[in-house]
C-alpha cells in the first residue's frame, strides 16, 4: 500500500501586517507548525501503512522552511518526505496549488490513497483536496471521519455531512480529506525525532515536476487577491457601564433592537 499525505506549514498564531500602500499582506510571521488538520491526515496515513504494510510519503509545497514540517512528519513515522519548492511556484491559488501537487503525485507513481487535511488555518478554503482529485481524475471523498476497510482495491469509509454520517465505498486510487474526528494523532517518538534530524528530504523544483509554467504562480492562478484588510466589527465595541442589573438591561435592549433575539 502506498499512501501519500499532502501537508502545509502554517503560522501557529500569525502576526499579520498589511502594507498600507498596496493593501497586500506582508508575510505573516509566527512560529511555523504543521497545519493542524494535516496532523490527522499524517496519522491516518501512518496507521494505514502500519495496518496494511507499505509506505507513507509526505509532500508539501512551500518555501524551503517547510522542510521543518516534513521533518516533523518523519518523526511521527512517515517513511519519506519531499518538498516541492521553487520561486515560480510562489503565489499559487488553490487551482495552481492542486495542479502542482497533482504533478508531484504523478511523479511519485500513483499512490493508492492520497490524504489531505480538511483545510488550512491560513487559507481556510478547503479547496485543494477536491481540486487535486479533479486534476488527477480520481474519486474524492471529503470530511472522512473513519476508514473502515481497504480491501481488493476498494475502500469503505465514513464521512460527515451536514445531516449526519454517510458510509461510502470507493475504488482506489482515491483522494480523501479528513476531519479531526478520524483519529488522535500520535506524538513523535524519541527515535523518530532523532532519525528525522538526519533524514534526507529531496527538493523537487518546477523542472523536476515538469510543470507547465502557465499553470503555476500568479500566471496560473485563476483567482487573485485584490486587497486585504482587518475585519471591522460593525458598530465597534461597546462596553456597557453601570451595575450588573443595568448592564443586562442595556444588553437586552440592544439585542432586541438588532432583532437577534
Amino acid at each position: 500500500m502506498k499512501v501519500a499525505v499532502c501537508i502545509k506549514q502554517v503560522p501557529e498564531t500569525p502576526t499579520l501586517e498589511i502594507d498600507p500602500q498596496t493593501n497586500t499582506l506582508i508575510r505573516a510571521r509566527g512560529k511555523m507548525i504543521i497545519n493542524p488538520f494535516d496532523m490527522y491526515a499524517l496519522e491516518e496515513g501512518i496507521r494505514l501503512k502500519e495496518q496494511y504494510g507499505g509506505q507513507a510519503t509526505a509532500i508539501s509545497m512551500g518555501p524551503p522552511e517547510a522542510q521543518e514540517a516534513l521533518r516533523e512528519a518523519i518523526a511521527f513515522g512517515i517513511d519519506n518526505a519531499i518538498i516541492l519548492s521553487d520561486p515560480i511556484l510562489d503565489d499559487c491559488d488553490t487551482l495552481a496549488t492542486s495542479y502542482v501537487l497533482a504533478k508531484a503525485i504523478d511523479k511519485l507513481g500513483q499512490p493508492d490513497i492520497i490524504i489531505c487535511g480538511r483545510q488550512t488555518t491560513d487559507g481556510d478554503t478547503g479547496q485543494v483536496a477536491p481540486q487535486l482529485a479533479e486534476w488527477l481524475g480520481l474519486p474524492f471523498a471529503s470530511y472522512v471521519s473513519k476508514i473502515e476497510e481497504v480491501r481488493e482495491g476498494r475502500m469503505r469509509l465514513q464521512r460527515m455531512v451536514d445531516s449526519g454520517h454517510q458510509v461510502i465505498e470507493m475504488p482506489l486510487p482515491a483522494v480523501i480529506s479528513v476531519v479531526k474526528e478520524i483519529n488522535l494523532p500520535r506524538l513523535p517518538s524519541l527515535r523518530g525525532l532523532m532519525q528525522s534530524k538526519k533524514a534526507p528530504i529531496p527538493t523537487w523544483s518546477a523542472r523536476d515536476l515538469a510543470v507547465d509554467a502557465s499553470k503555476v504562480g500568479l500566471v496560473g492562478s485563476a483567482t487573485k487577491v485584490k486587497m486585504v484588510f482587518f475585519p471591522q466589527r460593525e458598530g465597534g465595541s461597546e462596553l456597557l457601564q453601570g451595575s450588573p442589573e443595568s448592564q443586562v438591561d442595556q444588553l437586552l435592549e440592544k439585542l432586541r433592537e438588532a432583532k437577534v433575539i
Binding site: 500520535r186 506524538l187 513523535p188 517518538s189 524519541l190 527515535r191 523518530g192 525525532l193 532523532m194 534530524k197
Partner: protein, 385 residues
C-alpha cells in the same frame, strides 16, 4: 536559566513537555479523583520511546543517564506528580538489574522495560522497616534450585501494575544487614499476590500496594548479584534514583508556580490584578528563586552521577531534601496566592500541594537524609584534621 542541554537532551525535554501538556494535563484531575492508574499515558510514553531513555542501547534503549531521566521526570511532574512517579519508579525498579544483573537477566528483562511493554517496581520497605531498612523480615530461603520467598512488602509504588519486581529479602538473618539479597520476581508467580491498594493523600493516580509473598518459589537465577549484597544494592540504587525524586519535586513546584502566576495576573481585587501587590510579588520572587536553586542543585547532582563518580550519596540526599522542602513551600504559597478558590478541588493547586508532601517522606525521609548529610560533612572535616 541555561543548563546547556545537548541536542538529544533538548529533544527529550521538549517531547516530555509535549506529552505532559497534551496528554497529562487534560487527564490529571480525573485520574487523581478516581485514583486510577494512568495506563493510557503510560502507553503514550511508551510509544514516544520515553522508557528507552534510562535503558542502555544494547538492550534497545537510548542510553541516557541520570540527567536525561531527571529532564523527563521534571516535565511530567510539572503536569502531574502522580503520573511522573509511576514513570520514575519504573526507572528505579530496573536499576538493580541494570547495575548488578547478569547478561542473561538484562537480556531477559530490559528490552521489555525499554519498550514500555512491562513496568517495574522496587520493593524494600516493610511495616517494620521504613527508615530502618535493616529490619526487613521478608525471607528468601534456598531450597534446591529455588528460593522460597515469605513476607510482606509495604507501600510499593507501581505495586500490582508492574510485572517485574526487584525485591530485597533476608537470605541469612544471622548476618544482619549483610544477610539480605536482591531478587527479581515476576507478577503471576505462584505465591506472589498483592494486598490492598492504599488510599493516599496525594499522587493518587500512582498505584501503591502491599506485595504478599507466601511460599513464593522463584528460580535460583532470579538472584541479582550475590547473596548478602541486598542492602548495598538497595542503598546504591536508591542513591542513584534520588535525583529523580528531587526532579519530581522541582516539576511539581514549577507547575504550582506557573499556576500561581497565571492566577495572580488575572485575579482582580481592589481594581487591580493581585500580581501588582508587593506582598504577592515577594512571595512569587521567593518561590521562583528557591525553585531555581533546587533545580540547579538537582541537575548538578545528576551530572555528577553521570560523570561516573563513585560516591554521590551526600549530594543526592541534599538535592532530594532541598527540592522536596522547596516543593512543599512553593505549593503552599501557590495555594495562598490562589486564596479561597485554591482550596477548591476544581482548581489544580490543592492537588499539587497534596502531591508535593510525599516527596519529603519517601525515598528517605528528610530527617534521615539530614542525618546522613551531617555525618558526611563531619566525616570530611574529621578526615582533614
Amino acid at each position: 536559566m541555561e543548563y546547556f542541554l545537548n541536542e538529544q537532551q533538548k529533544t527529550i525535554k521538549s517531547l516530555a513537555r509535549r506529552i505532559a501538556e497534551e496528554r497529562i494535563l487534560p487527564a490529571r484531575a480525573e485520574l487523581d479523583e478516581k485514583e486510577e492508574f494512568p495506563w493510557e499515558i503510560i502507553k503514550a510514553l511508551a510509544d514516544a520511546d520515553m522508557f528507552r531513555v534510562f535503558i542502555a542501547e544494547e538492550y534497545e534503549g537510548l542510553g541516557g543517564g541520570c540527567f536525561d531521566l531527571c529532564l523527563v521526570i521534571e516535565e511530567l511532574s510539572r503536569a502531574c506528580g502522580g503520573i511522573a512517579i509511576s514513570y520514575a519508579a519504573d526507572a528505579l525498579g530496573c536499576l538493580p538489574l541494570i547495575h548488578h544483573g547478569t547478561e542473561e537477566q538484562k537480556e531477559k528483562y530490559l528490552p521489555d522495560v525499554a519498550s514500555g511493554a512491562r513496568l517495574t517496581a522496587f520493593a524494600l520497605t516493610e511495616s517494620t522497616a521504613g527508615s530502618d531498612a535493616s529490619k526487613i523480615r521478608t525471607s528468601a530461603t534456598l531450597e534446591g534450585s529455588h528460593y522460597l520467598l515469605n513476607g510482606t512488602k509495604q507501600f510499593i509504588t507501581n505495586g500490582g501494575e508492574a510485572e517485574i519486581y526487584t525485591v530485597i529479602a533476608m537470605t541469612d538473618p544471622a548476618k544482619g544487614s549483610r544477610g539480605s539479597s536482591a531478587f527479581v520476581v515476576e507478577k503471576n508467580t505462584l505465591g506472589f499476590s498483592f494486598g490492598k491498594k492504599e488510599k493516599k493523600m496525594g499522587i493518587r493516580s500512582s498505584a501503591t500496594r502491599e506485595l504478599v509473598f507466601r511460599d513464593c518459589r522463584i528460580p535460583q537465577e532470579n538472584l541479582i548479584g550475590r547473596e548478602g549484597q541486598g542492602f548495598i544494592i538497595a542503598v546504591r540504587m536508591i542513591d542513584r534514583s534520588r535525583p529523580g525524586v528531587a526532579a519530581q519535586a522541582v516539576g511539581i513546584a514549577q507547575g504550582a508556580l506557573e499556576a500561581a502566576v497565571d492566577y495572580a495576573r488575572q485575579r482582580v481585587q481592589f481594581d487591580h490584578p493581585i500580581s501588582s501587590f508587593q506582598a504577592v510579588q515577594h512571595m512569587l520572587a521567593n518561590m521562583a528563586t528557591e525553585l531555581e536553586a533546587a533545580r540547579a542543585l538537582v541537575y548538578a547532582v545528576a551530572k555528577t552521577v553521570d560523570s561516573g563518580a563513585k560516591d554521590y550519596a551526600e549530594e543526592a540526599a541534599m538535592a532530594k531534601v532541598f527540592a522536596s522542602d522547596v516543593a512543599m513551600k512553593v505549593t503552599e504559597d501557590a495555594m495562598q496566592i490562589f486564596g479561597g478558590v485554591g482550596y477548591m478541588r476544581d482548581y489544580p493547586v490543592e492537588k499539587m500541594m497534596r502531591d508535593a508532601k510525599i516527596t519529603q517522606i519517601y525515598e528517605g525521609t528528610n530527617q534521615v537524609l539530614r542525618n546522613a548529610i551531617a555525618l558526611e560533612v563531619l566525616k570530611r572535616k574529621a578526615r582533614r584534621e
